[in-house]
Every structure is written in structure tokens, then in C-alpha cells.
């Protein structure tokens, strides 16, 4: 037995976020920790890692209580956490990052030793990264591996990964899962937090389900089906992961022709019709987001854009929005949400002019518009003034989409619309997408989630290395065909 947490309870300002949760993870075991956003996973992890002090309960490693409220001491005892947000310093090398805060050597660092040891660690993980390279140039997937290497450098016996796959594409996820299996074979106890059920069934031995801060069930993964796992997480049946689509595509509302911005992407041509969802599939780094940014004028490019049949050359996102083309970012936290501002400000910021008379905003009209969006998108907030940074990921995402449809554009580009979003919120976002297309909006959906691409798209454009490699109609699309087009032939 390695890690045992007993009766953990935590309240914040009178709200109980974790209630009497007990979890035990053994050496050589990969445990999935699942639950909707707000189920208490993050709090549990932070308590285990010593970053948050529980109101009741204790955590023991090999029978010895772990230090409370001292993350560094916990780390030295052999429990490491890889958080969702990267904590790497971009301008330092891989080795410097791996040994950051634990440098070898005295006043003068022993750079070569650190480099060699970091390289050995990465090699053992089966990751082909040069320990001397600066982190800035690495792909997201490789940065993830550096994070893991960094966690392992302290001789970790327990490794906790908080949604490590959220930003990875298919093959990168496979690499990650391979690394996890190798670590498991080395006898580590691993807690794996993920919303992606495929991965859980692929790699985990057992599953712990949390809901509303309570422990619902812990059992071997083989005793679960997808449906029963979802049911345990949400506490009810989620009828269909993807709602039925009854597309009746109308006129072309977005036509991009021969769009190029080398080296990111070249000669991309995409049409979106009214009422249609066009999925853009591909691996991370295929140039999908760059192409979208070029369409809205956030990235210089050559080529042509037409919105509703009118030639457009947007120079800024503001101009694109005015012209009927809106883009919802993949990077909700860094480029989407105003975490310090209220839900109302977050929803109304784009179309404030709609609530002004003679230059003065009507706060009544602004609030009622925000309230209507909160209702329509089922955004769960304590009030319109609640800071958006304190909402769950799913609710932030819904607020973000709501922002751009306060006044519906002709075309909405959704970049990874359900990244880091829990199952129930995911279903609601799909429902919203259906409602929007029913109202005649065209949606261009960039997604690295293959089931989502297959489940929601009326047509699928596949990109690889900056080029479009194929277009599939809904009825001819299969996971295999999409993957074949997305990966090198």
C-alpha cells in the first residue's frame, strides 16, 4: 500500500467542496479520478499534494502522515503532481527546467551532469527530446513530457496527473499512455485525472468517481461500461453523447480560398454553409488554429475570404466580428475569459454598443441580455456579477460562446469547444451548437477529439502539416479515414 487518504473534508466559505472522501492507491496501479467539473477532483489533488489543508482527514504515504500545507515537503516525500497548466520556464533549457529548484552543484552549477541526467530520464520515458534544447521550441506534448520528467526527478513514488491529455492530439496521447504504462511497471502509484473515457479504459486499472464532493464509487475499470461511468459521474443518464443532427445546409456563408501563411499553413480552402457544422480535424500543430486566426484577421495571410458572399479582408478580430465572422479561442484561460470581471461583463464585452444609447450603456438592458444568455446556455453562476475566473471550465466555455452570439454572426469558428469541459457541460455545448445551426448559423469546428468530430460534423475537413488533405461527408467519415488523412501517408 502506498498512498492512503482518509475522510478528507474541505469547505470554502460555507460550501462543502469535499465531504469525507477516502481514497487508496497501491504501487503499480493506475487509478482514474473522474467526475464533472466541480466534483472536487482539483481540491482532492491539492490536498494530497499539500497545497491545500483539509478541514478534516489525513493523508498517509506508506503509513506515515504526509506534511500538511507544505507542497515542497510532500514532494520530497515522493508525491509529485503534474498540473494542467504548465509551469515550465520557456527560455530555460529542458534540463534546467527539469532541475529547477533542485539544481545539482553549489554556487557553480554542474550543468553537464544535470543535462546528462535529464537526458537519461527522458530516454527512459521513451521521449525523443534534447535535454539541452530550450523549452520554448518544444511542442505541447513534449512540454508535457518535460513536466513529467521534472516530477520524476525527485524519485517520485506517487505521480498525480491533472488532465494531462487535454491539449494533446491522438498520437501524442498514445505516447503519454505508453509513458504511464512504463512508470506503472516501475512500481509507481499513479492517479490520472481525465475527462476522456477512451484513455481511462485504455490505461487505467481502477476508477474512483467523485460527484458533488462525495466519493461515489471505486472499482476495477473492467466493472464499468462507458454508460455506467458517465451515469456515475453525472448522477443520471446522459441520453446521447452527441445529439442527433438534422442539417439543412443553405447558402455558403463563409468561403475561404487559397489561404496561405507559410510556414504555418498553405493553400487552405474551406466553405461553410448556413446551418452546417464543418469539422476541422488534424493533429495538434497541423495549422488549423492558424488558419482560423488568419480568417479573422488575427494573422497576416494571403488568399481570399468571403462572408455571406461579400469579399472581406479583415485586419482585426473586431473587423471580423463586425463583418459577421466570430472566433472562440481554444485557450479559454489565456485568451478567452476575463477572469477578474463578472459573468455579465464577459458575455456583453463584444457587443456593448448594442446596449448603449447616446454613448451611455443601459446596465438594465446589459444585465437582462446577460441573464438571457445565462438562461439559454444554462451557465451555472451564483449571480451575474460572479467573477468568471471562479466558474467551472464548462461554464466558462458556455459564457465564452454566449459572448459571440449576443448578436449572432453569420459564421462562428469554435476552436476545441469542449476542451477541459465535463461530460454534462459538453452535452450542453453540443445542444447549443445544434440550436445555433438550426437558426441558420454556420459553424466551423476545430477539434482534436475524434469522436466529437465524427459525432457533430456535417462535413469534415482534415489538415496535416499546414495543408488540407481531404474533405469527408458525414456518411463517409470513419475514425480510420480521418486518422489516415491526418497522419503522414
Amino acid at each position: 500500500m502506498r498512498l492512503a487518504a482518509q475522510g478528507l473534508t474541505k469547505q470554502y466559505g460555507g460550501v462543502t467542496v469535499l465531504r469525507d472522501v477516502t481514497i487508496e492507491v497501491a504501487s503499480g496501479e493506475i487509478r482514474a479520478l473522474v467526475g464533472e467539473n466541480g466534483a472536487g477532483k482539483s481540491t482532492l489533488i491539492k490536498i494530497l499534494g499539500g497545497a491545500v489543508v483539509a478541514d478534516a482527514g489525513e493523508v498517509r504515504l506508506d503509513g506515515v502522515p504526509l506534511p500538511v500545507g507544505r507542497p515542497l515537503a510532500v514532494r520530497q516525500r515522493g508525491l509529485s503532481i503534474v498540473y494542467q497548466e504548465f509551469t515550465l520556464v520557456p527560455d530555460l533549457t529542458v534540463a534546467e527546467n527539469v532541475f529547477l529548484g533542485r539544481e545539482i552543484g553549489g554556487a557553480v552549477l554542474r550543468g553537464r551532469t544535470m543535462r546528462e541526467r535529464a537526458q537519461r530520464l527522458l530516454d527512459e520515458l521513451g521521449v525523443r527530446v534534447d535535454a539541452g534544447a530550450p523549452v520554448r521550441g518544444l511542442s505541447v506534448a513534449h512540454q508535457q513530457m518535460v513536466e513529467i520528467a521534472r516530477a520524476l526527478v525527485t524519485e517520485a513514488r506517487v505521480l498525480i496527473l491533472d488532465e494531462p491529455s487535454a491539449t494533446l492530439s491522438g498520437s501524442e496521447v498514445d505516447t503519454l499512455l505508453g509513458v504511464l504504462r512504463r512508470l506503472k511497471a516501475r512500481g509507481l502509484a499513479i492517479i490520472y485525472v481525465s475527462h476522456r473515457l477512451d484513455e481511462i479504459f485504455a490505461v487505467c486499472d481502477s476508477v474512483t468517481v467523485l460527484r458533488d464532493g462525495r466519493h461515489i464509487r471505486t472499482a476495477p475499470v473492467t466493472t464499468f461500461t462507458r454508460e455506467s461511468l458517465i451515469r456515475d459521474m453525472v448522477g443520471r443518464d446522459v441520453a446521447e453523447e452527441f445529439p442527433a443532427r438534422t442539417a439543412r445546409p443553405g447558402d455558403v456563408v463563409l468561403r475561404a480560398t487559397h489561404l496561405s501563411a507559410p510556414p504555418r499553413f498553405r493553400d487552405v480552402s474551406i466553405d461553410v454553409r448556413a446551418g452546417e457544422i464543418v469539422g476541422v480535424a488534424g493533429l495538434v500543430g497541423a495549422g488549423r488554429t492558424s488558419a482560423a486566426l488568419a480568417m479573422i484577421g488575427a494573422l497576416r495571410s494571403s488568399g481570399q475570404i468571403e462572408v455571406r458572399g461579400t469579399r472581406a479582408a479583415f485586419r482585426t478580430p473586431a473587423a471580423a466580428i463586425a463583418g459577421g465572422l466570430a472566433y472562440v479561442t481554444e485557450d479559454r484561460k489565456a485568451r478567452g475569459i476575463f477572469s477578474m470581471l463578472g459573468v455579465d461583463d464577459n458575455i456583453t464585452v463584444t457587443h456593448l454598443a448594442a446596449f448603449a444609447r447616446a454613448g451611455l450603456l443601459s446596465n438594465t438592458r446589459r444585465r437582462s441580455a446577460a441573464a438571457a444568455a445565462v438562461k439559454a446556455f444554462d451557465i451555472r453562476a451564483a449571480g451575474l456579477g460572479q467573477r468568471a475566473g471562479t466558474l467551472s471550465g464548462g461554464n466558462q466555455q458556455k459564457a465564452l460562446v454566449a459572448r459571440y452570439v449576443v448578436r449572432p454572426p453569420a459564421v462562428l469558428i469554435l476552436d476545441e469547444p469542449t476542451r477541459g469541459v465535463d461530460v454534462a457541460a459538453r452535452a450542453e455545448i453540443y445542444r447549443v451548437m445544434n440550436t445555433l445551426t438550426d437558426d441558420g448559423l454556420g459553424i466551423l469546428m476545430i477539434s482534436s477529439d475524434l469522436p466529437e468530430i465524427l459525432g457533430m460534423s456535417d462535413r469534415i475537413v482534415v489538415m496535416r502539416d499546414g495543408c488540407t488533405t481531404g474533405v469527408l461527408a458525414r456518411h463517409e467519415a470513419t475514425a480510420e479515414r480521418v486518422m489516415a488523412l491526418a497522419t503522414a501517408a
Binding site: 488575427a298 489565456a334 475569459i337 476575463f338 461583463d345 451611455l360
Partner: protein, 316 residues
């Protein structure tokens, strides 16, 4: 046990929330109370009018500075712009122009300085700290050149009365009311918060970020021009050294008033309270006959304590 613990923690959370929101107002009230009790002279109308008048200039600068800092920027040039717009105003008057023309000249000077700052920050993409450090030096230099480092005196009778009585205080209140409406009730104001809160997000949300950034420096320049002509009127002279170190007092007022130097969070009324908190501190130190040197030390310490309390409540 747990039930009781919950009530207490709930109540203390509410108290913390209240304090963090209104900390500067509570501090200001306490300060007035303490100084009022400790001296006979603080709550005399003469002293209160004096406090209002002395701090109106800094408060007006701080109002403009609030916009800039809310976007995550900084304007170090305002003190020098006070000096420059004051001497331009006085010079135009001395040249025989009417008072309104001279006032407009002073305000235009402030606007011009703000426009230069705004253009350099947005078009040249030079960090605001560097841009306004440069214009701080240049504006002061121009003020000295324009006056040959002499004081422009012999201004017409009517000019000095401009800042007489409660005029400066009324102007200050007007500036704050307009600023408050601008921040709370216009698209521009909400965009100021958006730009300071998350620049990238604001851009993608269709906020015309460069316009907002440009506008806040222009506004700060106008505020400095306004303060400049008021100061010149109060001195009844064009003094090229006027406004020295005002930028530091203005920034201190904004920060003590609870506006984050990182942008995106703060309030205009907090700034007003912050300006008077510092102003009354000065007043009290004078009433207590604290030496000028000790005053600097006390002010520095207060600034440190106030901002560290701010950091503490942010993390709490």
C-alpha cells in the same frame, strides 16, 4: 462543532469580502477620526477647505492615472505635463491672450503630451514605462526652455480667481463623476477593464485594443493639462518646476485606492479615497509638526503597508 465552525468561517469570509472591497474607505474614515481626535484644528472648516484644495490637483491626476493603470499601463509624465501646460497657459496669458484661450492652450498642451504617449505606446509598441519616462524628461525640458527657467509672472487679475474658493474642488468632483460614468457606463470604460484584465482575450473579443490604449494616455494627458492650469492659477504664475514628483503621488493614490498595477481591477472612487488618504496623512504630519524628512519616511512606509495588505487580501 462543524456547524459552528461553518458560521464563523462564513461570517469572517463576509467580513473579509467587505473589508477588501471597502478597505480604503474604512482606512480613510479611521484616519479622519484619529486625526480629528488628536488635534483641535483638523475638523475646522479652514483646514478642511485647505485639505480639499491642496489635494485636488493630485486627485485629478490620479483620476486620469486610474484609466491608464486599469489597462495595465503607467504614465510617469503627468508631473512634468502639469509644469509644461502651466507655463504654456501662463505664457499665452502673458502674451496678451484672453483667459479662455490660455486655458485651452494649457489643456491642448496636456492633450498633445497624452497623444504622444498614446502613439508611442500603441504604434511604436514601446513599453509605457519607458515612453512616459522619456516624455517626463522632455516635457520638463520644454517647460524650462519655454520659460528660460524663469517664472512667468504678472498675469491678469482674473486668472488667479479661477482656482479661488472651491473652484478646484468642484472641478475635481466633476472630473471624478465624469470618470465614474465613463468607466461604469460606457463601452469604452468596460473595454478599459477588459484590456487590463486580459489583453489577448480583449483583442479576440473584438475590443479595439490600440484605440483603448491610445485613449487612456490621451485622457491622462488632458487630466494633467487641467491640473496644470489649475496649479498655475493657484500660483498665479507659470513656474517651470510646478508638478515635480506629482506623478509619484498620483500613482500612490491609485494604488492605495485598490487599483491593481497589473490592470483590470480597481475603482475610481477608491482612487479618490486614496488621494485623500495620502493628502490627509500629509496634513496630519504637518499638524503634528513632523519634520519633512520624517514625512517622506512615513509616506513610503504607508505605501508599502497599503500595497502589501492589498496583495494579502488578493491571495486570501
Amino acid at each position: 462543532m462543524t456547524g459552528r465552525g461553518r458560521t464563523v468561517s462564513g461570517r469572517s469570509a463576509a467580513v473579509t469580502a467587505f473589508l477588501s472591497r471597502y478597505a480604503i474607505f474604512v482606512a480613510l474614515a479611521l484616519e479622519c477620526l484619529i486625526v480629528g481626535l488628536a488635534t483641535d484644528t483638523f475638523f475646522t472648516s479652514a483646514n478642511l477647505v485647505n485639505v480639499l484644495r491642496q489635494n485636488a490637483f493630485i486627485a485629478i491626476l490620479a483620476a486620469g492615472m486610474t484609466f491608464v493603470i486599469l489597462t495595465g499601463g503607467i504614465d510617469l509624465s503627468v508631473g512634468s505635463v502639469v509644469g509644461l501646460s502651466g507655463v504654456i497657459c501662463a505664457g499665452v496669458l502673458a502674451g496678451g491672450a484672453s483667459v479662455p484661450v490660455a486655458l485651452l492652450a494649457g489643456l491642448a498642451t496636456g492633450l498633445a503630451a497624452g497623444v504622444v504617449n498614446g502613439l508611442a505606446v500603441t504604434a511604436l509598441r514601446v513599453p509605457a514605462f519607458v515612453v512616459t519616462l522619456a516624455t517626463m524628461l522632455m516635457a520638463r525640458g520644454v517647460a524650462f526652455k519655454y520659460t528660460d527657467a524663469r517664472t512667468i509672472t504678472g498675469l491678469p487679475e482674473g486668472f488667479a480667481t479661477l482656482s479661488g474658493g472651491a473652484v478646484a474642488s468642484v472641478v475635481m468632483i466633476a472630473v471624478f463623476v465624469v470618470s465614474w460614468i465613463g468607466l461604469a457606463r460606457t463601452a469604452f470604460g468596460r473595454h478599459v477593464f477588459a484590456v487590463g484584465g486580459n489583453l489577448q482575450a480583449a483583442w479576440l473579443a473584438g475590443v479595439r485594443v490600440t484605440r483603448v490604449q491610445f485613449a487612456v494616455y490621451a485622457l491622462s494627458g488632458v487630466a494633467a493639462g487641467l491640473a496644470g492650469v489649475l496649479v498655475a492659477s493657484r500660483l498665479n504664475a507659470g513656474y517651470p518646476r510646478a508638478g515635480e514628483y506629482y506623478e509619484l503621488d498620483a500613482i500612490a493614490a491609485v494604488v492605495v485606492g485598490g487599483t491593481s498595477l497589473f490592470g483590470g481591477r480597481g475603482s475610481i472612487w477608491g482612487t479618490l479615497a486614496g488621494a485623500f488618504f495620502i493628502g490627509i496623512l500629509n496634513n496630519a504630519l504637518n499638524l503634528f509638526h513632523v519634520s519633512t524628512y520624517d514625512q517622506l519616511i512615513v509616506k513610503g512606509a504607508v505605501l508599502l503597508v497599503a500595497t502589501s495588505l492589498d496583495r494579502w487580501r488578493e491571495s486570501a
